[in-house]
Structures are given as structure tokens and as C-alpha cells.
Symmetry: C2
Subunit: 367 residues, 2 copies
């Protein structure tokens, strides 16, 4: 791996780890007879999209119309926009739907009625069901609203009901028994809804999406499709809750070492909130952890046996709480790797990647 | 103000508020016989840079070599890179210093020695002094290290000592008496250092930079130059600690209203951590505040008398805890404004602005 060109914070993407993560999830989907429709908000990259294609993935999930536009050049069979549809984006939706098969999510009758009047091309839709933590979606027992959306949609031939979608994002803050409990709830909700409506909508499918459930659970009865995103890179949050090991994390932020304070066991690096984001974990001793140190080598990086971590960050500064062994070997002008707490946010902050072979990898720019 | 074109999260910049903020700080600097060398990491914009120029500002502060490169096309008398110098960036520094007068910050003898050997053009430098919260800089009483840096620099004619720099970033987490106490400490430290070294370095100046002290304090004895950044936009954090009022905040994130849950007093907007960043304040009742709602009008926006705020965010979702009056008037498809908790981070996330006249305003892209 050539670091000759790194003189500033750079997000390094390890293709072999990333491909292994994709491969595992593809295998898991196959074993469980699930269709894998990965969420591309994590990587937002055409090149990573091509890696997914090489494993037979033909449909994808995104979180905004802009991201759908970005990936529409890649000939996906369908792009699903997994966000309650924003009616202000209808013109862009109409334009994109001319050339790209799309599906969206609906959570209320107002937007459904508006789309019934405004759509120019057929678009599929899922009804998003509240996973139980109140972020978004129709409550699972609110059949009145579910059916109001279905009936409004039936007033046009442009809205095609595809099924029910649940994103159990609260698994990101749960432990293993908690994830299992949430997963059981998701399965039960989707199972019930499918049973209730399958006679009217023969092709309806159920989809859920969170990386922890898809990584940890082995039983998906009631679920037809999965749309996880974070698994492509994983991160320290996922390692902490058991979705992966640290060796499965596919991105590391390369940060220049600026100053070393041996007396305080501290290393100042150029790498802060604008690079990593400010997502943070709490260490067992109560201290904050904004990312963990790895050492770059020819093929990628190695995780040291004694961890060192970023204990505080500001806009561009990161302060590493350094182990003795790190302090012994580190020099000003070195480049350290930092495993991110939340890889989706870090990738979005950085806006591009460098492969371990030194090649630039794209990421959708701006918001 | 035309919102016809807004269909997705957009950072709106109010030029008249921004110019008023610049004007006030210019006046304050003049009254206190300080040179104002504003930090451009907050806005990162050529256009805002031009507004600064129109008030007579001729030197600027940035936080990275990349930002210095971005602003070097604007004919500034000097660009100061207010970050302990990253030796890996020396080639870029040499290249930029061919055409642009620059200054940097040094905190150790190693990088000073390295630069003494490597610089091709004269560059000014400040010795950064630890403001007392241990982020960066030489401890104020570590004369051994201060003089080691001075002596190494004297081994070349390429490093010109300009003075001492303190960034008291801990004022961002202080109350008014706390800010005053920190400011007194900053003044005393800079005063002492100037007294000690002025006989050897006749032109030496002292500089401090935090927006809270520059906004709130009225007495700057011992300080020659100030380099605040955030004051150009301000934000809810600054309003909370008393640096400004909410009416002084010059940016608001425009977010589409996606869903409304009257029963829960909640509004779902498209606007999350990738737009606002995850910086957060705590309301008096202990709840989290990721941004506060304003209403756009022809000339900018109005702050409602009863506040509504974003109580939780994920990557792209924001959930507003809505007041009764907001709930009464809001409709799906409306665009609300959100005053940011930390404007520097929000601007960096968004990567560009829209003026209240509907014109695009630049922001340095990527990291």
C-alpha cells in the first residue's frame, strides 16, 4: 500500500474486506431464501455498487432522490428510495421514472393522494411500518391508515403496491438479546400484515433492513427481502453489539500524526468531527471513544492487541489516548488509521475513498 | 425569497445578518485596537470572503493547507493556517508559498527542525500556546520548549517568528463568568509571553481566537490580534452562552416536511445528521435539541415566540417536537427552517449555500 500521496485525512477502503462482507450477506440471504436489496446510503459509491453486482445483486436501496439519480446510470433492475416520500421531489421522481424502475415508501394518505394526481410513470411503493421506536411509519395496528393508503393508491394505475417495509433502527442501540427481541417483533408484524393482505395483493412482499438483525439472526420467517446497508463497511458500533468483529471493518480514516505528548499519553492527529463525524461510543471505563487506532501495512491494516482510541475531537483535531506500545513506535509525520464509530457518517463526511492500492473510489458529493 | 427550487435539504444563508455580524466584529476590533483576522473554517466560502473584504479585512485564518489553497486565489495579504503544522503537507506549503504569503503554527521542535531543512520560501509562524484545556499547544510556562522552537527556527531564514497564538476553545462550553475567567487567563498568558520576548523579537504580536470571548468581552489588554470564525454565522450554541441572540444566526437549514403526527406533537422532516451534524444541546427540561424551527418569509426567516426543536435525528431523518401553533399551521410539503446547533459543522456537512435571493453560494468541497 502506497501512502506516499497521503498528506491529509483520507478514508481508506479495503476492497477485500468489503467484498467478504458482501459475500457473507449474499450467502446468508441465499440460505434463508431472502432477496438481498442492499442499502447504498452507507457507501454511496458506483465502484462499490459494481462489486455488489459481481455477487448477483440486481436491486438496491437508497435514502433520497439525489442518491437514486446518482445510481440510475448503473442499470439496476429497481432502485428503492427507503424514506417516506417527499412530495416536493415529485418532478425529479417523474423525470427519473422515465428511465429507471423505482419504488418509494408511503406513510400517509396525503402524499399518496398527491402522487395519485401527479405521477406520470408507474412507481412501486411500500407502506412503511413503525418498527416500534416511533421514528417513522404507520403503526402496525393502524389498519385504517394502511387501507387508506392502499385505496388512494388504487385510484391511479401509477402506484403499484409492493408490500410492507420495516427498518428496526433501534437494534443499533441494543445488545444481542435486545436485537433478538426486536427481530421477533419485526418478523411477527410483517408476518401478520402479509397474512392479512396477501389474498388481495398476491405479489406482496415484506422487507426489513437493519444490519444488526441481518448480521446476527438466523431465522427470518415472515420476511421476504432484506435491505441492510452498514454491513458493507461495518464499524465500531457494529463490532460492539456483535454484528461483526473489528477485522470486518472495511474502512479506516488515515490521519497524519501532528504532535506527541508522551507525558500525557496523547497523540494529536489531523482528524476531527468534519472527517469522522461526532458519533461516539462509551468505553467500559466510561471514557469516550470516537474511533480506534489501526496500523497500515502493505495490504491494509492491522488492529493492535492493546487498543488506543480517539478520546476527544473538535472540528479538525483528534486526541488519541495512546497505549504504551503505540507511544513507543509512533513518530510525528506518521499516518495512523482510525476505525470509525459510524462508517456511514464518516463516508458521508469524507466524500471519497482511497483504495488500499492507492486508487480513488467515488462517493456521491454534497447533500 | 423564492423557495420554488427547494425540494431537498438546503442551507440558506442570510447575507444581511452575516454582514451585520461581520460589521459588529470589525467595529469591536477597531474600538479595542485589535487587528481582526477572521477564521474562514466556519463559512469556507469565496463569496463570504468578498463580504469580509468589503469591510476592510485583508488577512484571514484557515485550518488546513487545503483551505489555504482554496482562498489563495483571493489576494489576501496573508493566510494563517491555525493548526499545528502537519509536516506531510510541506510540499503543498512550498508550492503555495511561492505565490501567497502564509503563516503557520508550531508546537514542537521536531517539526520546526524539519521545516528549517525543507522550506523553500519564507513562511511566518506563531507558537501555539495551550489555552489550558489540553487540546493543543505548548504549555504557557514551558519556556524550554518555546525557546527550542525559536532557536530551531533561527537556524533558517525561511521561518519568521510572528508571535503567540491561543485558541481558548473551552469557552464554547462555559457560561458568562466562565468565559470571563478563561479570557482573563488568555490575556495574562499572552501578556506575560509578550513582555518576556518582545525585547528579542520587536515585532511580535499576540493573537487569540474564540468567538465567545471576542463577542462577549470588552477588554483585550495583552492581545493584539483576534481570529474568531463562528461569529460570521453564529448558532444556537453561541446564543445559549450569550455570544449572540437567535436573531444573529445567519444560516438556517431548509427542510421539507414529510409527515405530521399531531397525536404525538411530532413532525418528520428530511434533515438529519448528514445535514446538521450530530452536535446537540440540552434543553432546560433535559431533552435533546438538534436545531430550532424558524419560518421562512420573503426576506429571510422569523423565530416563532414558542420554540419547536428537533428532538432526535438519524442519518437523514429529523423529528421535530412541535409547539401547538406550529402544528396548527404546518402542512406536508412545507419547508421549515432549522437554526443549527453548530453552524461550522452544518456548513461543512452541506458543502454549499443558497442565498435568501435564491443564488448559490460556494463552500469548499470535500475534506
Amino acid at each position: 500500500m502506497s501512502y506516499l500521496s497521503i498528506d491529509s485525512p483520507t478514508l481508506v477502503l479495503n476492497e477485500s474486506i468489503c467484498r467478504r462482507n458482501i459475500s457473507r450477506m449474499v450467502e446468508k440471504a441465499k440460505i434463508n431464501q431472502l432477496k438481498l436489496i442492499p442499502h447504498f446510503k452507507t457507501h454511496q459509491s458506483h465502484i462499490v455498487g459494481e462489486w455488489c453486482k459481481s455477487f448477483g445483486i440486481d436491486e438496491i436501496t437508497v435514502s433520497s432522490i439525489k442518491m437514486a439519480e446518482y445510481f440510475s446510470s448503473q442499470n439496476w433492475k429497481n432502485i428503492h428510495i427507503a424514506f417516506p416520500f417527499n412530495p416536493l421531489a415529485v418532478q425529479r421522481l417523474n423525470k427519473l421514472a422515465q428511465k429507471q424502475q423505482l419504488s418509494i415508501q408511503l406513510v400517509n394518505a396525503e402524499v399518496t393522494a398527491f402522487l395519485a394526481d401527479s405521477l406520470e410513470h408507474e412507481v412501486g411503493f411500500f407502506i412503511e411500518i413503525d418498527a416500534g421506536y416511533g421514528r417513522t411509519g404507520v403503526e402496525v395496528s393502524d389498519f385504517g391508515l394502511i387501507e387508506a393508503i392502499m385505496r388512494k393508491a388504487q385510484s391511479t394505475n401509477k402506484l403499484k403496491f409492493k408490500g410492507f417495509y420495516i427498518h428496526a433502527g433501534h437494534t443499533y442501540h441494543a445488545d444481542r438479546p435486545g436485537i433478538k427481541a426486536i427481530h421477533e417483533q419485526t418478523k411477527a408484524a410483517l408476518h401478520m400484515l402479509k397474512d392479512k393482505y396477501i389474498s388481495e395483493f398476491h405479489g406482496l412482499v415484506t422487507r426489513s433492513g437493519d444490519t444488526p438483525s441481518c448480521s446476527i439472526m438466523d431465522e427470518f420467517e415472515g420476511i421476504d427481502e432484506i435491505g441492510p446497508g452498514n454491513f458493507i463497511f461495518y464499524d465500531l458500533t457494529q463490532a460492539k453489539i456483535g454484528s461483526c468483529t473489528k477485522e470486518d471493518i472495511a474502512v479506516a480514516l488515515a490521519v497524519p500524526v501532528i504532535d506527541i505528548r508522551k507525558d500525557r499519553h496523547e497523540i494529536l492527529v489531523h482528524g476531527g468531527g468534519v472527517h469522522l463525524s461526532k458519533d461516539v461510543l462509551t468505553n467500559p471505563d466510561g471514557s469516550s471513544n470516537f474511533g480506534e487506532v489501526v496500523f497500515f501495512d502493505q495490504d491494509g491494516w492491522k488492529t493492535p492487541s492493546t487498543p488506543s482510541f480517539i478520546k476527544s475531537i473538535s472540528q479538525e483535531h483528534g486526541i488519541i489516548n495512546a497505549s504504551d506500545s503505540l507511544l513507543q513506535k509512533v513518530k510525528i509525520g506518521d499516518v495512523l488509521g482510525i476505525l470509525p464509530v459510524h462508517s456511514c457518517m464518516t463516508a458521508d463526511c469524507m466524500g471519497s475513498y482511497l483504495s488500499t492500492k492507492g486508487e480513488k473510489i467515488d462517493h456521491l458529493e454534497g447533500q
